[in-house]
């Protein structure tokens, strides 16, 4: 190898070589510790055997290339490649062969590192020549940090400065320059006789170009070493739901999202990153534009540039104390330089419940009621059905002849049967100059509910970027949002347990009074019982100022300050409404409590403030092929919250709902106040060599006031490394279809500090809602807090992750896969299940328990264009398993109930008995084991005596399901476009999850609830021994315990969203200054495949507001 003598100013080349060697070694060691590496070793001194007659030199060269690892480079405009030669060698070195064939060409050869052979003219000027030049992008903007190296040489590389200029010393004018930059296509240039070069780089298309948002910065997808998944805002707007958390389901490998409700304004999906790995709070950290904030549910998806999910410790350690459960980073859109664009997007649609349960008619229900009392041995029929209906009653029910006493009402349909509308609109303005850029946005959303529950949202945002005095860069984000969550005061969801026998409305037009619920759920759904409205006014702001230090290239200083204020106002207005009882003497009467009730009002004003201050040093520089990115950051956050609540009762009139109008007798008020603080020092050191060998060290030293003094600070480090094999010539040259191949691994720690405050202090408080006074007057009481725990600290999650990212045939196929193993120890929990309650106090949180969680996630991408059709398919799947390693369990827990060592999710598991069908006859009961209940009869569930003690007791329970969190989730995102048409679809599903059939759908008639659903008709009787439901009972508890009898497979597959759109031809619109118009129809939750059809929704169950199906039409128009 030719020896170069270029001084970089900081390192001598030899020093760099040594450093490189050490680094390679370190790199390999790191990788070897994480995975098995296999790489082929290259032959250096190849020999060839070749016989060719009267053959062009070019063909000989190709033959050498074929038989060895060498590659040839020459300037075809000058090299006499067509000159014919004769070759006949046996086991000859390539050098000797080349000397032979180049003998009369006036060219000689130079063997460079990496097996590259350059053919150069003999008359070349010896000695180094200096080339200067600049590198610009397609917009003629200078590019900083572009790598320029001499192909085949390990030394002598350089990078461009801020103005895009570079200067490089070449050994001769036939050297090949390789110009590469992340996100751009690599160019090779032979300068020839030129000494100045102006190079324009073209952007690479597709995945490798992506910038991924990570904690406190961004990284190129190509060189990231952490496990991070990202979805763009453009994808999210395709789901016409009002809640962003719902739109995330199925999009991101490693993110588990499931719904618990479809109620407008209360339909947040539960989000978990890689499942449950603690018994404590498992919610991921939410970061919006770099600031830890709490809520993404009601952000306008039109404002969102991207959402990324940080999964492994390499990604999360930088958030230290709060990121043990992963983090979700939301980045909003920013202005781009250029002509101002105004975008309007709007859509409107109708919603309906995904699953509408249809109960049995009243006559069938009445017969089942009679059967239940007969089974109890207490059938005593009368006209009112107290313990069974007599013949007269049954006839009246069947024929509808006493409609005021016996209805045939579908309450579920009455409350949940509607098709409410929703609409949303957003206008955004985007543009700027080199000096300032802006993104302004305003949005409105209105989502009505199946009953009077709705959400209105108004949001504005201004994101500004610019320069001050050409020295400082500033950003300013201001966002405001008002959410009005309207809900009724009342319990319309009682409709689920309302008997069809109860008339909905009487023949005289008045409405029925149900004594069990003190009213009428239908009317409560219509707002007759008043309202329970919450208005949230959120203000979020942040400003940053950064300064590039002129005397140290690549060093910048940045300061950030953010201030958020969240105001919430809850008003509960309870109004009486008139409903009637139908008396036994066929008269109507208003119950006294209804006729005399007066309105009451309760209001709560709450607000919370959060400020974050940050100062950071950022260093980003490239020395030749060494790329360094370093960050040192100090951050502190203060939170405070206050609330005031006040209420009055006995309003003289329900017409006006102002506090001052209520009676002062019985007035109440109260308040709360909290404060907390955190601080941390964050550091990141990312180094890569030639974008090939990637290393990163992240850490955070974090402090939280949750812990006792002396235990408040924790250190959370993470190490990660990656190797881009695709940059190695053995892949680049031999397997050119591999566009990108990277293996990466990480190890690190993150913390979790969620738990109640001041658990280390012995305190006393005056609880609201408690009173004890003497002598006839009420008095305050002072109640003790927890028994303090003076020593506890961080919950620690240690994660190891290995992953691979690859792209084949450019971006035709892509794969990203990760395996992780995470151990959460020192789990913050109370040992309540192990400590006898004779202790007498509330137990504080402490560090108890270890949970292991491991899993695998993979995302595949395929995109292609065939003729005028472009399409993509992106499936992803996530598996995870939690295992309890230790847990504070009761000392004598039966082995069947012991969690330790089990593959379970300790917080959501359900315990119960193992069912072995139904008892078919009395002999089966008497033959043992002794049943759980003395009154057990044939037709009841037969439980298994797990501990073999001859009787069914609580000790025979075991863990029957893991609960509502699926162990496997998957999504399939696909789309296509043809000319102006586009189409996309998202399927989302879950598996490895079980549900327990809820009360109303399991035990009809039990507890006196006279309602049944079609599946429940298949109940046990001696003549129906193969029934799927046990015998009907009213008071007998035999079948009400949790058991495997009621466990069902909760797997499901949903068509989560669907969109079909058309982009109008530009020619039609250009005169109107419209650049782009897209019209579309879309929908969400369009169909569901599930084992639970007719019983419940696999996600929301039955007691919650049903999940909504939405059909929507909309358009997006861009003006500029």
């Amino acid at each position: 190898m030719q020896k170069c003598t270029i001084n970089s100013g900081l390192f001598s080349i030899n020093a760099i070589n040594k450093l490189l060697f050490v680094m390679k070694l370190t790199f390999l060691l790191v990788l070897c510790s994480l995975m098995t590496v296999s790489a082929s070793v290259k032959s250096q001194d190849a020999r060839v055997t070749l016989t060719m007659k009267e053959t062009a030199i070019s063909k000989v060269i190709r033959a050498i290339e074929k038989n060895t690892d060498y590659k040839f480079v020459y300037n075809s405009s000058v090299f006499p490649a067509d000159t014919k030669v004769n070759v006949s060698v046996t086991d000859e070195t390539v050098a000797n062969l080349l000397n032979q064939i180049l003998a009369n060409t006036g060219f000689n050869f130079k063997l460079l590192g990496g097996g590259l052979i350059v053919l150069t003219q003999n008359q070349v000027t010896a000695g180094p020549i200096v080339i200067t030049g600049s590198v610009i992008d397609e917009n003629n903007q200078p590019l900083l940090g572009v790598n320029i190296k001499i192909k085949g040489q390990k030394t002598g590389a350089t990078t461009t400065n801020e103005k895009g200029f570079f200067s490089i010393k070449l050994p001769d004018n036939n050297a090949v320059l390789e110009v590469s930059y992340i996100g751009y296509l690599t160019q090779e240039i032979i300068p020839g006789n030129s000494t100045t070069l102006n190079i324009k780089l073209k952007q690479a298309l597709g995945a490798l170009n992506e910038v991924v948002v990570v904690g406190y910065g961004t990284q190129s997808k190509a060189t990231i070493t952490a496990a991070v998944s990202q979805v763009s805002g453009a994808d999210l707007v395709k789901v016409p739901g009002a809640n962003l958390t719902q739109s995330l389901a199925g999009r991101l490998p490693g993110l588990i999202a499931y719904n618990t409700s479809g109620q407008p304004g209360a339909d947040d999906a539960t989000l978990l990153v890689r499942g449950l790995s603690t018994t404590n709070n498992s919610a991921p950290l939410i970061v919006i534009d770099g600031i830890v904030r709490s809520d993404i549910s009601y952000m306008d998806p039109n404002d969102i540039e991207s959402v990324s999910v940080l999964k492994d410790a390499a990604a999360t350690a930088i958030y230290g104390a709060r990121a043990a459960n992963g983090a979700i980073l939301v980045t909003t859109k920013r202005g781009t330089e250029g002509k101002t664009t105004i975008t309007y997007s709007g859509n409107a649609g109708v919603q309906s419940a995904v699953q509408v349960l249809k109960p049995l008619d009243s006559y069938t229900t009445a017969l089942m009621w009679n059967q239940a009392w007969t089974n109890e041995g207490a059938f005593a029929p009368d006209y009112y059905g107290t313990k069974g209906f007599n013949a007269a009653a049954l006839a009246a029910i069947q024929n509808g002849t006493d409609p005021n006493r016996f209805g045939n009402t579908d309450w579920y349909k009455a409350v949940y049967g509607g098709t409410p509308t929703q609409q949303s609109h957003n206008v955004s303005i985007n543009g700027g100059t080199t000096q300032s850029r802006y993104f302004l946005s305003a949005g409105y959303l209105d989502q009505n509910g199946l009953y009077d529950a709705s959400l209105s949202r108004y949001n504005i945002r201004a994101n500004l970027d610019g320069k001050i005095a050409n020295i400082f860069d500033y950003t300013l984000n201001i966002a405001g949002r008002r959410e009005i969550h309207d809900n009724v005061n009342g319990t319309p969801n009682n409709a689920l347990e309302m008997s069809p026998l109860e008339p909905f409305q009487y023949t005289n037009g008045t409405y029925h009074y149900d004594p069990a619920w003190s009213g009428n759920p239908y009317l409560e759904g219509k707002g007759y019982g008043g309202y329970n409205d919450v208005t949230n006014d959120n203000f979020e702001s942040s400003v940053t100022l950064s300064y590039k230090v002129p005397f140290i290239p690549g060093l910048s200083i940045k300061g950030l300050y953010s201030f958020d204020n969240y105001a919430t106002y809850n008003k509960i207005w309870s109004t009486p409404y008139t409903t009637y009882q139908y008396n036994a003497d066929n008269t109507f009467s208003v119950p006294a409590s209804v006729s005399t009730a007066l309105a009451s009002l309760s209001e709560t004003f709450g607000q919370s403030q959060s400020t974050t201050s940050e100062a950071s040093l950022n260093y980003s520089h490239s020395f030749k092929l060494h790329n360094i990115n370093a960050l040192l950051l100090y951050t502190e956050t203060r939170n405070s919250a206050q609330s005031i609540t006040a209420g009055r009762i006995n309003f003289p009139s329900p017409l006006l709902d102002q506090l001052t109008l209520g009676s002062t007798t019985g007035a109440t008020n109260g308040s709360t106040a909290t404060q907390s603080a955190r601080r941390g020092v964050v550091s990141r050191l990312a180094y890569n060599y030639d974008q090939k060998y990637l290393f990163e060290f992240d850490s955070r030293y974090d402090g939280s006031d949750l812990f006792p003094p002396g235990h408040r600070y924790g250190f959370f480090p993470a190490l990660s490394a990656g190797w881009r094999l695709s940059e190695e010539s053995f892949i680049k040259d031999r397997l050119p279809f591999i566009t990108n191949l990277k293996i990466r691994g990480s190890w690190g720690m993150a913390g979790n500090d969620s738990g109640g405050a001041f658990q280390y202090l012995s305190t006393y408080s005056i609880p609201t809602g408690s009173s004890y006074g003497f002598g006839g007057s009420a008095g305050q009481v002072l109640a003790p807090g927890v028994i303090p725990n003076p020593v506890f600290t961080w919950e620690k999650a240690t994660t190891t992750d290995v992953g691979v990212d690859a792209n084949l045939w450019k971006n035709l196929f892509g794969i990203s896969a990760d395996y992780f193993y995470k151990r959460t120890s020192n789990i913050l929990a109370t040992p309540a299940s192990a400590v006898p309650v004779v202790l007498g106090g509330s137990l504080p949180i402490g560090n108890y328990g270890i949970v292991d969680n491991s899993g695998f996630e993979i995302e595949l991408t395929h995109q292609n264009t065939i003729g005028a059709v472009s399409y993509y398919v992106r499936p992803n799947i996530t598996f995870n398993h939690s295992k309890v390693i230790s847990y504070p369990e009761a000392a004598s827990t039966p082995s069947t109930l012991r969690l330790t060592g089990r593959q379970v999710q300790p917080t959501t598991l359900i315990t119960g008995y193992v069912a072995n069908g139904l008892y078919q006859n009395a002999a089966q009961i008497t033959s043992g084991p002794t049943p759980l209940y003395a009154a057990t009869q044939p037709g009841d569930i037969r439980y298994v005596d797990l501990n073999g003690d001859g009787k069914i007791t609580a000790s025979d329970k075991t863990i029957i399901t893991n609960g509502s969190t699926p162990g496997t989730v998957a999504g399939l995102n696909a789309g296509a476009s043809y000319k102006g048409f586009d189409f996309s679809v998202l399927f989302q599903g879950a598996a490895d999850v079980n549900d327990v059939i809820p009360r109303a759908l399991a035990w009809s008639m039990y507890g006196g609830i006279q309602i049944a659903y079609p599946l429940q008709q298949n109940y046990w009787t001696p003549s129906n021994p193969g029934a799927t439901f046990p015998r009907l009972t009213v008071t007998s508890k035999d079948n009400q315990d949790n058991s495997t009898y009621w466990v069902r497979n909760g797997s499901y597959l949903r068509m989560k969203s669907f969109e079909l759109g058309y982009t109008l031809p530009k020619a039609w619109l250009s005169k109107l200054s419209i650049s782009d118009t897209h019209i579309f129809v879309n929908g969400t939750n369009l169909f569901t495949l599930s084992h639970l059809r007719g019983i419940m929704d696999p996600e929301t169950g039955v007691y919650n507001y049903p999940l909504m199906r939405v059909f929507n039409v909309g358009l997006t128009v861009k003006f500029n």
């Binding site: 009730a597 007035a667 006393y764 003497f774 299940s833 192990a834 004779v838």
Partner: protein
């Protein structure tokens, strides 16, 4: 330009500096909690701490709306909420140690016992008058004994804990012997009696008195079968010369008669929604007609109603046609004060108990027995109010109970004459005026009968049955009866006739298992095999 950049540079540095200078950023303190040190220095706060201990005292009023009145576990009443009622399932032997109705009391009472221990371990340091400290100490020692007394009633012998434990102490404390438990309770009550005043005035009315300590001691000894000690304690109460029988039997409980001469210990209620110290006793007791809710869950047992004697002291009988035709006439006046029957007048309305009548409406759960409960219902209650809150105190111990305890103790000591004197004293209450029992007729059964009638629904019957071991009769399959009202819905009450019927509530009494409630399963399994918490027999 340069100036601007200097200014901005300065601002940036300021921002960086300002964010990192607060050294004690993390030293926050609670904004709405008092520290332990502050609390035990301040007698006002300590007073409120003691109030909190009082707030956990048991009350049948809370059970009416919350769990279930203890009477529903006995031959006093049954619950018409069938499957929804804790007592209904328990009485049917459908419960086990994981879901028994009083599992939560094991936790609640030990929490209050801890509160007492914390107080007793800290009171020494309080800077207050010796008088106040003495009194408060007496109150808290009384309260601790009261909670242990109830732990013993529900669960039997208990782990005796008399100091503040920390989570790192050995908590696997075995149950004491029954004798140790009784000794602990009574010796604490003895100590408390010495510390407590005989009477309070004004704003302190309702605190524990010497009389309360002695009366509870009397009850504890009686339940333990220590007759002489029980008699002595009762005598000590009488010798205080503070208590007397209140003339109006029904009125003992009414708000207008709070702190009357018969009350020894009561739980304080205040009639305001905002007070958080009220009960819903009236609202939950009266027929649903008045409230629109399915209230009136405790249906008095027909057998109890039948047990009220005729005014001449003879026994009522359905087989006596005259009595059966007019079953509630000429009866012990305590019947009218305690029971709502067909034709009773309540809150100005004549109650028609015919099933289907607005007062016994099947859609609001008709009475299973044909009766509703009147005891405790304030005659001045106004159902036409939104609040439904009652400020009527619940009497935990009253003088009549002490007299009956004394009578029973003396009876068992063989002093039947002395015993009879006190039973007849109860019967001679002006508003009751029942003829005296003659010595010839005086038996243990008569004495038990008098307790059944006098103390009905007051939460004491269950403990009596359990110590008398009369479970099979009083809590068994045929313990509940009722009446069927014959006639027509539209006919006047005077046209109704009545037939006694057995009410099938599915009761099963398992002897001796059901004399004690189970210790919660979740607690039993916390103890290691080497130091077990022994479960009650049969559970």
């Amino acid at each position: 330009m340069k100036k601007i950049s200097y200014i901005l540079c300065g601002l940036l540095l300021l921002l960086i500096a300002s964010s990192s200078c607060k050294k004690n950023l993390l030293d926050s303190t609670p904004l709405n909690q008092y520290s332990s040190a502050d609390t035990w220095k301040d007698s006002t706060l300590v007073n409120l701490y003691v109030s909190n201990i009082y707030s956990g005292m048991p009350s049948e009023y809370d059970s009416i709306t919350g769990s279930d009145m203890l009477g529903n576990y006995t031959d006093e009443a049954t619950d018409n909420r069938t499957a929804l009622a804790a007592s209904y399932a328990y009485d049917q032997n459908q419960d086990n140690s994981t879901n028994a109705p009083f599992n939560k009391l094991w936790t609640n009472y030990y929490a209050q016992i801890r509160n007492c221990n914390v107080f007793l371990d800290n009171i020494g340091a309080l800077n207050a008058s010796a008088g106040l400290k003495t009194r408060l100490t007496g109150e808290v020692r009384f309260l601790r004994a009261l909670y242990y007394h109830y732990v013993h009633n529900y669960f039997g012998a208990f782990p005796i804990i008399s100091k503040t434990l920390s989570a790192t102490d050995n908590l696997f404390i075995p149950r004491g012997t029954d004798a140790d438990c009784i000794n602990f309770i009574t010796s604490e009550l003895n100590a408390a009696a010495a510390l407590l005043p005989v009477k309070y005035t004004g704003a302190n009315m309702g605190r524990a008195t010497k009389g309360a300590a002695l009366a509870l001691m009397c009850r504890t000894y009686l339940y333990a079968g220590q007759w002489q000690n029980a008699a002595d304690a009762a005598t000590a109460v009488m010798n205080l010369n503070t208590y007397s029988l209140f003339p109006d039997y029904g009125g003992i409980f009414y708000p207008t008669n709070e702190y009357n001469s018969e009350v020894i210990l009561d739980k304080e209620y205040v009639a305001l929604v905002a007070s958080n110290q009220s009960s819903q006793v009236d609202y939950a007791t009266i027929p649903g007609y008045f409230t629109g809710r399915a209230t009136a869950a405790s249906n008095p047992n027909g057998a109890l109603v039948d047990a009220y004697e005729m005014t001449d002291g003879t026994t009522f009988s359905w087989s006596n046609p005259a009595q059966a035709a007019n079953p509630w006439a000429n009866r012990d006046p305590r019947l009218e004060a305690s029971i709502i029957h067909d034709g009773s007048v309540l809150l100005g309305q004549t109650i028609n108990m015919f099933v289907g009548s607005p007062y016994n409406n099947p859609t609001l759960r008709a009475s299973l027995t044909g009766y509703d409960m009147r005891k405790f219902v304030d005659p001045n209650y106004n159902p036409n109010q939104t609040t439904n809150q009652s400020g009527q105190n619940f009497i935990i111990i009253r003088y009549a109970e002490v007299l009956l305890n004394y009578a029973e103790a003396e009876f068992n000591l063989g002093n039947t004459t002395e015993a009879l004197k006190y039973v007849n004293m109860i019967r001679a209450r002006p508003s009751v005026n029942m003829p005296a029992i003659t010595a010839a007729n005086f038996t243990m059964a008569k004495l038990q009968h008098e307790r059944y009638i006098e103390l009905a629904f007051e939460g004491l019957r269950l403990w009596d049955i359990n110590r008398w071991k009369t479970g099979p009769q009083a809590r068994g399959a045929s313990s509940i009866t009722g009446i069927t009202i014959n006639g027509t819905l539209s006919g006047p009450i005077s046209s109704h006739t009545y037939t006694p019927v057995a009410v099938n509530t599915g009761r099963v009494f398992v002897d001796p298992q059901m004399y004690l409630f189970p210790i919660p399963y979740a607690e039993i399994i916390k103890y290691p095999a080497s130091a077990p918490l022994v479960q009650n027999p049969g559970w």
